[in-house]
């Protein structure tokens, strides 16, 4: 039997072994239990016996047995090697998370069990597959740390999230927890769990394989959803384990372990941030480049000046992100500013981010164009059009449906006129959609550029049409109406930029106008997921 020294503290139990090779013994032991489990009952035993008592060495084995019988806590998280590294740490064995046993049996973080269960099931045919499936729906059970902290709990406690460079575990944990939540929303977590339950019960039907095609489809979908769920659970698991480790290390005054865990937490924060971005930007067209169009609202020069500021803000934002920006079309105002502008933003995920900016942007300030120094409110409308790449189907444009006009041409033309103005406007007669380009130095290139804009506009129109037909997608981002006021920029009497959709606000308007828009975009994109989530819970 294992030589384990149980060290008890007031809050949790830890297992300490004087012998590094315990880890291998432990694995072998666990495996042997699994084999024993093969023929044992599938009905869950009551975990209460473990809930209220601290664990003694002798209790460990019964716990493991219960766990395996229960199949209720297989949250695969740590890789074996990682686990081993824990075990080998300074010749001690420190099994994080065992304290959970005290309170929440279902949430036990046994790092090894599921792996073994998995490998057994994959080797042992249908019977095990079914068994494996039957607990999958219960994967959703809340994971927590030894003192009962869950991912949702971390988010709810609103720990301050500070810069990655600061070694603050709470900040890292809060950032990770937030990212996990976003990833879950994107996966439509609740829906996913319900669906998994349905699939599991389907897989458990004895006559499933009478229709092999159907069975294959079910098990494929089940496998894919399980994969997604496991990935998220793994993140949750890892986060909670790190937290346990840090708390434990603090109690043990072990700075090395603490800093190691902190480092791991930071790495995790960076990794999951990427996952989160992937989750936020997983729309069909999100990877595309795009056009951003800014149009001055009513209000003359003041609004036109605002429209120019907005256009500049997007140019700076795009440059910050390393995108290439070109001005396709720009119509200057009579005195200052612009009546409208179209810029092309070239780079991966440009559309995914920029689509969050569609709507009306409002400015409040003392107008520099008002000699009376009065406060003015101006508006600028922003539209974003994805540029569908080669992989997408495009609307076919008939040459005969186009009317191409020279822009601002005057007089006899031809040899009579020398001008560097060669702007072209293309009208798609059946839809009335137009596109103008005047930025290029030749008419031919202006026309080609305007054709690209026209193509993207028609593609977007078609997307909107299809989405309207497909009721499921009516709330899609591409559908946001042009007329909605989305953000206010106040320069006077106080200074603030506030997003009216998310209530996200910043007190430094200059930084926003200099292109620091990512946080606005991301907060909107995740808020959009929230809405999705709510809709799902209503429909459930």
């Amino acid at each position: 039997m294992l030589s384990l020294i149980l060290k008890k503290s007031s809050h949790r139990s830890s297992l300490v072994s004087p012998n590094p090779c315990t880890s291998t013994n432990l694995i072998a032991l666990l495996f042997s239990f699994l084999l024993v489990d093969k023929d044992s009952s599938r009905r869950p035993n009551s975990p209460t016996s473990c809930q209220k008592h601290s664990i003694l060495a002798s209790a460990l084995s019964s716990f493991l047995l219960n766990t395996i019988r229960n199949q209720s806590g297989p949250h695969l998280c740590l890789s074996k090697s990682r686990y081993n590294s824990y075990l080998n740490w300074r010749g001690k064995v420190l099994v994080s998370g065992f304290g959970v046993l005290k309170r929440q049996f279902g949430g036990c973080h046994s790092a090894l069990l599921p792996r073994f269960v998995l490998s057994c099931s994959s080797n042992q045919g249908l019977e095990n597959l079914r068994r494996f499936c039957s607990f999958s729906a219960r994967e959703a059970a809340k994971l927590s740390t030894s003192d009962g902290l869950t991912v949702d709990g971390i988010v709810a406690s609103k720990w301050a999230i500070v810069d990655e460079s600061e070694s603050d575990w709470k900040s890292h944990a809060a950032a990770i927890a937030q990212s996990i939540q976003i990833v879950k929303k994107r996966l439509q977590w609740r829906k996913l769990i319900v669906r998994l339950g349905l699939l599991s019960s389907e897989l458990n039907k004895p006559d499933l394989w009478d229709d092999p095609e159907h069975a294959g489809r079910i098990s494929r979908e089940h496998g894919s959803l399980m994969g997604k769920m496991k990935e998220v659970n793994a993140f949750e698991q890892e986060l909670l384990e790190h937290i346990d480790m840090i708390k434990l290390a603090r109690e043990e005054d072990d700075i090395d372990v603490e800093s190691e865990s902190l480092k791991a937490l930071l790495q995790m924060r960076i990794n999951i941030k990427e996952k989160e971005l992937e989750a936020l930007l997983s729309g069909e067209h999100d990877t595309c480049c795009c056009y951003i169009e800014v149009q001055a609202g009513a209000g003359g020069t003041e609004s036109m000046d605002w429209a120019e500021m907005v256009t500049k803000m997007y140019k700076l934002w795009a440059e910050r992100r390393g995108y290439t920006v070109t001005v396709v079309d720009q119509m200057p105002g009579e005195i200052a500013g612009i009546k409208r502008a179209t810029i092309k933003v070239y780079g991966e995920y440009a559309y995914g981010y920029a689509k969050a900016e569609v709507g009306v942007h409002r400015l409040v300030r003392i107008s520099p164009f008002d000699s009376g120094k009065r406060r003015h409110t101006s508006f600028a409308a922003v539209a974003v059009i994805p540029i569908l790449g080669d992989g997408f189907t495009h609307v076919q444009i008939n040459e005969s449906d186009l009317r191409i006009e020279r822009f601002r041409a005057g007089g006899a033309g031809g040899q009579h006129v020398n001008t560097t103005e060669s702007a072209v406007r293309i009208v798609h007669v059946p839809t009335g959609v137009t596109a103008t380009c005047q930025n290029e130095r030749s008419q031919h290139l202006n026309k080609a550029s305007a054709m690209e804009v026209l193509q993207s506009r028609l593609d977007q129109l078609e997307m909107a049409r299809r989405e309207q037909m497909n009721a499921q997608h009516t709330q899609s981002l591409t559908n946001i109406s042009w007329g909605n006021q989305i953000r206010t920029y106040v320069l006077h009497p106080y200074r603030m930029v506030k997003d009216l959709r998310t209530n996200y606000e910043v007190y430094d308007p200059d930084s926003v106008l200099e292109g620091e828009l990512d946080d606005f975009m991301l907060s909107y994109l995740s808020a959009y997921l929230d809405e999705d989530e709510k809709k799902i819970s209503v429909s459930l």
């Binding site: 033309g413 040899q415 560097t420 008419q443 290139l445």
Partner: protein, 347 residues
Amino acid sequence: MKLGLTRACFGCRPICYTTSLPSSTLNKPQIPIFLRPPAYSATSLDLRKWHEWAKGLAVSVGSSFADADNGPDTNLLCRELNWLLQDSLEDPKHDIRQSNESLMLRTSLDDLYHLWKQRIEQRRPFQYIVGCEHWRDLVLSVQEGVLIPRPETELIVDMAFDEISKNESLGQGLWADMGTGSGALAIGIGRTLGTRGRVIATDLSPVAVSVTTYNVSRYGLQDVIEVKQGSWFEPLKGFEGKFAGIVSNPPYIPSEHIPKLQAEVGRHEPTLALDGGVGGMDYLIHLCSGAATMLRGGGFFMFETNGEEQCKLIIDFMKNELAGRFCNLNAVPDFSDIQRFVTGVRR
């Protein structure tokens, strides 16, 4: 041929010789600014100063040029100013708003002051200032003595392309660009032809011949385009009935309009390339007759005109004076909806 000789009065003496290349060093073409080596250094502060000064000049123009003769307004001049800056910078994308750093220019700062003064005070065309015109997907070198190709003329290449895609044999045949100027049409069409297609570009002006030769070599089309100096069809003797296509943007402005032209055009561009005689039809009629002789059966022609009136006259002329020689005669509008081109096919 009489009309052709009238036009040939370049420097008051008829030029009847034909050469394929100018040998005189007098006609060495100017290099556009953007192709010159970045040999001049300046600080971005000085460049910003110049830019501010130049912008001030452009702003002072307001709409006065536009009101006077449909010339450029402040907006257009500001855009030209930015293009001049781009062409002059070693890295056109360089942002001169950055702090005071040293950068390399393709022309001296003094020249930039000088050039912009010419642009505003003398109304020297922007294209002559930078030495090039962006035309279709080409950047063509231009200089005084050569007509700056117009946006309208781009459409001739589109139409030629359409004809060639309808009838492949046209693309393998011989084409002529009469009065080629900077070589725009010859190069535009030369790039759409098939492997066996060739273009002969002619011009009376030795400057035009040297500029075209330079532009042709810039686009590596020496094997496709032959540049010949001479009046209209004279350099093409011996090619009668051989051409698959003939294109031209000949001088078509009626002489009586020449004094009232926009300053950039009237004061700076070569009258030789603009003045079409009384009524403006002298060379167009000559080209029509020539096309009847030079085109092969099924050969295609496209000429640019002054507008609806000239188009009508040409079509009438061909229907009556050259009855039975042409079919599919059409007047084609430009993007301003002015009947700009006449096209037809040799029977």
